[in-house]
């Protein structure tokens, strides 16, 4: 009996030790304002191609934040978030091309549909823990392109051909080109979503989510409804990634089954780990990593991004399990001793 207790205790303590950021620490207000102002200023400073990249970065940041809510804060390891990304992207594309819905109105609909699908997937996910959930979601991710090519829904999805949509013009006669407008629009959406996530995580629900991750049994004993909270967490997580998918579809102006292979899910996972597991700002670093590293690496070889991702993923697991965000946090605390 005593042996079991010790085993339980060590297990709990290792999971705490390896995931140091158990609390959402607010980034100082001033830093947030400076970063936001800088991000807005970039609209007028860089070329359209770079703005497109930055729009993708913002989209990935939201997607990784979504993955982080389920995996980082709630401990439900998902390798299948590419599926929700695809759901969001296709929802936006289908609504815009078949139903003439304006682009901004597709986002809430994409959010609702991905949240519902996330909630439904969250149910079987309740029965799986750890590796089994990773396995099942991995299977989902592998199956996504086939599902999208399915003949029965070809009228909507366009089958293998995919759907072409067009980039929205800036409204109200604003003196912006479509790239600049879409970047600012994504930035605004992402800002709201980040604020919402930050509030969610530092509040009662966020604490309950982390309690489940660190010790499900103790959390249940404290009166947390595991099933309810875990499925809802999965739904919120899917919602974020779905909105990100919709944003990316509008930016790329095209969706096709083969853009949503298993590697989308894997790259989101890489971004999560590199940015920082259980860190809200980490999502931004992770997104920057998966947007810019391939550009640099592809100059070496077409296969280089994959290899670099793999090496860096393993290196982070060994050397920096708390990611870039964890590293910056440690540096900050070292430089500003009063912040401890």
């Amino acid at each position: 009996m005593s042996g079991e207790i010790t085993a339980e205790a060590t297990e709990a303590s290792t999971s705490i030790r390896t995931q140091p950021s158990t609390r959402a620490r607010p980034v100082p207000f001033a830093v947030t304002v400076i970063v936001l102002a800088g991000a807005v200023a970039l609209t007028f400073l860089v070329s359209n191609y770079h703005l497109f990249q930055l729009t993708m970065l913002v989209g990935y940041a939201v997607a990784i934040l979504g993955l982080n809510i389920a995996t980082g804060y709630n401990g439900q390891i998902s390798l299948g978030h590419g599926a929700f990304y695809a759901v969001g992207a296709y929802t936006a594309a289908i609504l815009m091309s078949n139903f003439d819905v304006p682009y901004w109105a597709t986002l809430p609909i994409a959010a609702i549909i991905s949240a519902i699908i996330g909630f439904l997937i969250g149910f079987p996910a309740l029965r799986f823990t750890g590796l089994y959930l990773a396995l099942t979601t991995f299977a989902l991710a592998v199956a996504v392109p086939q599902l999208l090519k399915f003949k029965g829904i070809e009228d909507w999805t366009g089958g293998v051909q995919g759907i072409v949509i067009s980039k929205p013009e800036a409204p109200f006669g604003l003196p912006l080109n479509p790239d600049q407008w879409l970047y600012l629009f994504s930035l605004g959406v992402a800002g709201l979503l980040f604020l919402f996530a930050w509030n969610l995580i530092r509040g009662r629900i966020g604490r309950a989510m982390m309690a489940i991750r660190d010790h499900a049994l103790a959390a249940e004993a404290m009166g947390i409804d595991l099933a309810l909270l875990k499925t809802r967490t999965f739904a919120v997580s899917a919602m974020y990634t779905g909105v990100a998918g919709a944003l990316s579809a509008i930016a790329v102006e095209f969706v096709a089954p083969d853009s949503f292979t298993v590697f989308v899910s894997i790259f989101l996972f890489v971004g999560l780990v590199v940015g920082g597991v259980a860190s809200i700002t980490g999502a931004i670093f992770g997104a920057a990593f998966i947007v810019f590293i391939p550009n640099i690496a592809e100059q070496v070889s077409k296969a280089a991004p994959g290899a670099i991702y793999g090496v860096i993923l393993i290196a982070f697991m060994y050397l920096m399990p708390s990611g870039v965000a964890g590293l910056l946090r440690r540096l900050y605390h070292r430089l500003v001793p009063s912040s401890r």
Binding site: T14, L131, L135, A139, V142, F269, S301, A304, G310, Y318
Partner: protein
């Protein structure tokens, strides 16, 4: 009826390959409770090594044996270098390392042999279909190879002292260590064996699905489904599960969902098994006290 029989037999032929890979997964799972997401990519790499040897002019069976040996060494090295330091790591870190390994191996095969689809030779030539037209020469040959391999593995684990030591190390590492079994090396051997089995599976499936860096993604999924269906704790169960998934895949693809949704069938099997009978058909239910 003829059609159904044909589907079942060719399902068994591909099922044998799923069974091999499922067995590789179970071997690692039994010893460490890890599911190796990179098992498929490692098998693909092995197949490319065989491809290089065959195109360099070596005879098929020499390349076959050389590939199995190289893959075995590769598996041992991966365990020693990558997995050893991760013994007590949390699940997320393990998944990270496996996914990292998958990315590296996948990119490496793409880098060295590039991404174009290649044909892989089969040693079993026959212009006429066998067994009254039900099986091609390759299907029959690969089934025989798979069965021989499974028999060898069975004999190795049942009737050699090394096999016994490996089973002991997986079953109860602490006691095994006390009686002098080098548990760490047994795990490494298990990884080596799994990689070797994967290599054989890769060489047997490559003539059917053609050789490209992503060829194993689907196969790995079926192998997962097979391992879970049979019981991921049970090697015999995994083998039976693998064969069963092969048959289900073929029948389902031919009569129920069509070939476009075959992979989704694997997903459905995985979810169904985990929902209805998580221990699998032959696994034992594990109770955990809290």
């Amino acid at each position: 009826m003829q059609g159904v029989l044909h589907q079942i037999l060719s399902g068994l032929a591909t099922g044998g390959i799923y069974a091999s890979l499922a067995l590789a997964l179970v071997m690692i799972y039994q010893a460490t409770h890890h599911v190796n997401f990179a098992q498929g990519e490692m098998a693909t790499l092995s197949t490319y090594i065989a491809y290089t040897m065959v195109t360099a002019g070596w005879s098929y069976w020499v390349s076959f044996i050389a590939t199995v040996v190289v893959s075995f060494i590769m598996g041992v090295v991966v365990e020693r270098v990558l997995m050893r330091p991760m013994t007590n790591a949390p699940v997320l870190a393990l998944v990270g390392v496996f996914i990292g390994l998958l990315l590296i191996v996948n990119a490496m095969t793409g880098w060295i042999w590039d991404f174009t689809i290649k044909t892989f030779p089969s040693p079993f030539h026959s212009s006429t279909p066998l067994l009254g037209g039900f099986l091609s020469g390759h299907e029959l040959g690969s089934t025989v190879v798979t069965l021989v391999m499974l028999l060898c593995i069975y004999l190795f684990f049942r009737h050699t002292s090394l096999g016994l030591a490996m089973r002991a190390a997986a079953y109860n590492p602490v006691s095994s260590r006390l009686v002098g079994v080098r548990v760490g090396w047994m795990l490494a051997l298990g990884w080596g064996l799994a990689a070797a089995i994967g290599a054989i599976a890769g060489m047997m499936i490559a003539p059917i699905v053609f050789l490209d860096p992503n060829m194993m993604a689907g196969v790995l999924l079926y192998a997962f489904a097979g391992a879970l269906l049979g019981g991921i704790e049970n090697p015999l169960g995994a083998v039976i599960g693998g064969f069963a998934v092969g048959v289900i895949e073929n029948l389902g693809g031919a009569y129920v969902v069509g070939t476009e949704l075959k992979l989704t069938l694997a997903l459905v099997i995985i979810v169904a098994v985990l929902m209805i009978k998580p221990s699998g058909l032959l696994g034992r239910t594990v109770m955990s006290r809290v």
